[in-house]
Symmetry: D3
Subunit: 72 residues, 6 copies
């Protein structure tokens, strides 16, 4: 019975990216823990940039300063 919640800043995630995450995480967890996928739920919650704080600053402010969360 796994339940997985993904919280991520709302910055243009496509429907296809969401499906890739759902499929990939379900496969990973059901493989590693030998769980029935029919008992595995994944929920994605996008969070507005004004509503996520990192290191004491709103992410919307960080983005205005040109600071991204992109992989380097």
């Amino acid at each position: 019975m796994p339940y997985i919640k993904i919280e991520v800043t709302r910055e243009g995630i496509s429907r296809e990216q969401k499906q890739t995450l759902i499929k990939g995480i379900t496969d990973l967890i059901t493989d590693v823990l030998n769980k029935d996928p029919q008992l595995t739920h994944v929920v994605i919650q996008e969070v507005d940039l004004d509503d996520w704080g990192y290191a004491g600053e709103q992410v919307s402010v960080l983005r205005e300063k040109g600071i991204t969360a992109d992989k380097k």
Copy 2:
């Protein structure tokens, strides 16, 4: 001090249904645990069908295939 969170796919839940859930869960929990309702909070979070995955598939895709979550 109970706090209850309900996450459910966004598929046309009415204001009255929400009120029925809030009243019913509050009554149940305060009865079973003998808790003060004034200390009992219930939060409902509706989740878009693209954002809920079940058995590795987006619920929006399952619905397009005619697969529902209806009681049988």
Copy 3:
């Protein structure tokens, strides 16, 4: 696809009380929303009294002062 999380202070909830909550909430939600119980998960999380704050005070301190959360 409902998922329900109950957070409550750890104050001697019995296995039977938990089962009553799980059964009652599942019945309520699947009835009101017409959902398949096989897609309905309920998770109970008990929280130590030092870890729950109410009105700015630890519940453990409130209990030492004789303040309960009992229904009146």
Copy 4:
């Protein structure tokens, strides 16, 4: 590694109030626990008044009755 989630009824919180909360909570937690702010995330989730229940009633109904959550 602290992660903090604030859930609050959606009743006109401004961007500046959110920033004050994010800064204040990050400062408090990193001071009290001696944690690196770069490892501290704060997420604010506003909840519609129909979706928050208190003492068995929807907050939207309480507000219609003139009952507020204002500090006295």
Copy 5:
């Protein structure tokens, strides 16, 4: 800024399995969303079998009846 929470029944997950989940989910999310791993946190929460309800029954009761969540 992704944050991922995994809730799963406590049924003997090893430290190595947890590390495999953490690594796999972090790689998947940072790849699909092009996110910096330094901004990616994963939290695993194991839930006692008395505290997880499925289809209105405690999982501990389901296990006593020989019903597992194993992959078929």
Copy 6:
């Protein structure tokens, strides 16, 4: 109606530190949002080091390597 959840690695937080967090966060939120403290709940959840992943690694492994989350 604010509800606040703090998740933090379990690394020896004292009862007094928890009380300081609960009091400080409640004061901050009720001041900034003008909310009644009687409607404000704070929950602290400590997470074992094997159960928290950062940048794809278990925090327990990071600590063994001498990498801390201390403020610099």
